[in-house]
């Protein structure tokens, strides 16, 4: 008998009696307008929140607040047009290790924990939001949900090959519980909330 069949038959023989699954929809809060809470939590975990009108304003905030910036890379065509950084055709994700800012779109934010849901199709390369030195994510003003239950309701049965909730910069407290931002991934994270949905194309 293969290990697979062995394991399955032992599990089948040893499993406890049937129990019904509990309802998780009761935890959904459903209401909008959680932007204030989102900002408060994201600030607490080391991220910044900016309200902007368009991509131009976003880029000038990056340049003004972080004057010694290096390369800015974005898979968003409108942002790409405003920066001079291009990806090498057909290469892997390794090339972004020295990108100072990666600018990508997110689907929505979650107020209770400051996380943003992003799927592979918005990243161009899966490594991009992790390997860059700093990460900027754009979401629409109305796309902030109260809890993780609301988040999974929104995600539903959508298909993606890869997706991640990202909440703030990469961090560690492994050395005597001293919090250090920038463990392996981004040292900083900025969330840009687009005031006008129509600009977000």
């Amino acid at each position: 008998m293969s290990s697979r069949d062995q394991i399955l038959s032992r599990v089948k023989a040893n499993k406890p009696p049937q129990v019904k699954l509990p309802d998780v929809a009761v935890f959904e809060q459903g209401e909008d307008g959680a932007a204030e809470k989102f900002t408060e939590i994201l600030n607490a975990i080391g991220g910044g929140v900016y309200y902007v009108d368009d991509y131009q304003e976003l880029l000038s905030i990056l340049r003004d607040n972080y004057p010694d910036h290096g390369r800015i890379y974005s898979p968003i065509p409108d942002v790409k047009a405003l920066t001079d950084c291009v990806a090498i055709e057909g290469s892997s994700g390794h090339q972004f290790a020295d990108v100072e800012w990666a600018v990508i779109k997110g689907h929505f934010g979650v107020a209770e924990n400051g996380a943003i849901w992003i799927t592979g199709d918005l990243m161009e390369y899966r490594s991009l939001p992790f390997i860059c030195q700093r990460l900027a994510i754009i979401i629409k003003q109305n796309d902030i949900l109260p809890t993780m239950h609301d988040a999974y309701r929104r995600i539903g049965d959508s298909t993606y090959s890869y997706g991640a909730f990202i909440a703030g910069p990469s961090k560690t407290a492994d050395i005597e519980q001293s919090l250090v931002l920038g463990a392996h991934g981004p040292k900083g994270m900025a969330v840009f909330i687009m005031k006008d949905d129509s600009v977000y194309s």
Partner: protein, 460 residues
């Protein structure tokens, strides 16, 4: 792994020699427990979430065979190769074969307690494959040639000065520099170089969704993602109990996991791996290694609900004062003490006794495992099976005879009071384990019975 052959009490005795360090260890973990309290008190629905999480996990255990098959079908449909390992040895062989097939001799690994349980690093080293642990805490204990002492905080037992010395020796930092910011930054450069050059990455799994075939990995550092996205082959190792039925159940588990672990609202990264990147490979190894046996032990099967948050360790008065290494098992603390005897009763017979049965572990457990009840039940199983020290069994038998006979009880009481009063050196010495770090009490002049006879009976 118990390389010394010493039991929990002996190993804890060694840890307890440095009182200042014990106090520091104790306070650090209690501080994390306090952060957990603050985070969970912020959610009015916390108790309902625990109850729901526990019920979902119960449903998982009741349907584990069907969920495993459903997961396998869906994962294969996503382009993932699924492997099954009956035990640690088979798991290690599968990893080795996958690497050999690709002629890979260097691998980067993110946190996986399962690979600690299986002894994967040692096995691969014997076969000429270098593994670098990328979680900062795990990298630190790897450099120190020690196992992790905590499942969430692998080097919680290490002082920053010791880490500074390790980095000086292995990573060339200036001697005497123990600044956490500086040391972390050094590790960042060292490990980024590793991520950029390794063609294989192994990660653990926090949750696997039967409905979709996807796996979820949670980290704060981003090391699982750095490794998996940059490598050609991603291997994910998971115990079969990591399954959850549907994607929407992640909402419950991601809310309770990190709040219980460190008091954060969520980890920085909660990554959902569903399909491999174009041109790359993704493998999932489903590992049993005793779990299906534990499933059949009615009184202990609830331990399989564990989501590895570490809350029971942070709150445990014994763990905090004895350190993770004293448990000589990949998973320390209260939960480790109920999981380990399932793997080997003889070797881990001491662990269920490393507890005061205060019940704090059960109170903080986010999936409501009856940890302290199980510790108590394991003690009974282990004594019956003859795995506990003979001297203890003999002492217990004497005590039970004494307590069962009023005459013997009175005589023993009198003898005890006499000894403490007239020959205190007979008990106040190193041969008496009760004297260790305690003073023996002063002997009362008479027993309650004698006092009652003098004061009440006579008057009536």
């Amino acid at each position: 792994m118990n390389v010394t052959g010493k039991d929990h009490a002996q190993l804890a005795g060694a840890f307890n020699k440095d009182t200042q360090r014990v106090n520091w260890h104790d306070e650090t973990l209690w501080w994390i427990r306090a952060k957990r309290d603050k985070a969970v008190h912020g959610l009015p629905e916390w108790e309902a979430l625990r109850e729901t999480a526990s019920k979902i996990k119960h449903n998982v255990l009741a349907n584990l065979d069907t969920y495993l098959q459903q997961f396998e079908v869906n994962a294969m449909g996503n382009g993932v190769t699924v492997h099954w390992a009956a035990d640690a040895a088979e798991h290690n062989r599968i990893v080795h074969q996958l690497l050999t097939k690709k002629r890979i001799t260097r691998m980067v690994k993110s946190k996986s307690m399962l690979t600690e349980e299986c002894g994967l690093n040692e096995y691969l080293a014997e076969h000429g494959i270098e593994v670098i642990d990328s979680d900062l805490g795990e990298r630190i204990v790897q450099l120190a040639k020690e196992p992790p002492s905590h499942i969430v905080l692998p080097c919680i037992h290490k002082k920053k000065e010791e880490i500074g010395d390790l980095f000086h020796e292995h990573l060339g930092t200036p001697a005497g520099n123990a600044d956490p910011q500086f040391l972390t930054n050094t590790a960042r450069h060292h490990l980024r170089e590793v991520f950029l050059t390794r063609k294989a990455a192994l990660t653990g799994v926090n949750f696997a969704v039967a409905e979709t075939g996807e796996i979820v990995v949670c980290t704060n550092e981003g090391n699982a993602d750095m490794g998996a996205h940059l490598a050609d082959i991603h291997i994910a190792s998971m115990g079969i109990e990591k399954l959850i039925p549907q994607r929407k159940h992640l909402g419950v588990f991601l809310r309770i996991l990190t709040r219980s672990a460190t008091g954060q609202p969520i980890t920085t990264y909660s990554s959902h791996f569903k399909s491999p990147q174009p041109g790359k490979e993704m493998h999932i190894i489903l590992v049993d290694n005793g779990r299906s046996t534990q499933l059949g032990r009615e009184e202990f099967r609830n331990s399989l609900k564990c989501i590895r948050c570490g809350a029971c360790m942070n709150t445990c008065p014994v763990y905090r004062r004895s350190g993770g290494h004293s448990y000589h098992n990949a998973i320390a603390g209260p939960i480790g003490s109920i999981l380990a005897p399932n793997l080997n009763m003889e070797r881990y017979a001491d662990l269920p006794f490393a507890s005061t049965l205060c019940g704090s572990c059960s109170n903080v457990c986010p999936v409501k495992i009856d940890i302290h009840d199980q510790l108590y039940k394991w003690r009974q199983v282990l004594v019956k099976a003859g795995y506990t020290p003979k001297t203890k069994t003999a002492a217990m038998k004497i005590m039970s005879t004494t307590l069962a006979s009023p005459t013997a009880y009175r005589l023993a009481g009198k003898a005890g009071r006499m000894v403490i009063k007239y020959a205190p050196f007979a008990v106040n010495n190193a041969l008496n384990p009760w004297y260790k770090q305690r003073d023996m009490p002063e002997a009362p002049k008479q027993s309650f019975r004698e006092w009652y006879n003098d004061n009440r009976k006579k008057k009536n």
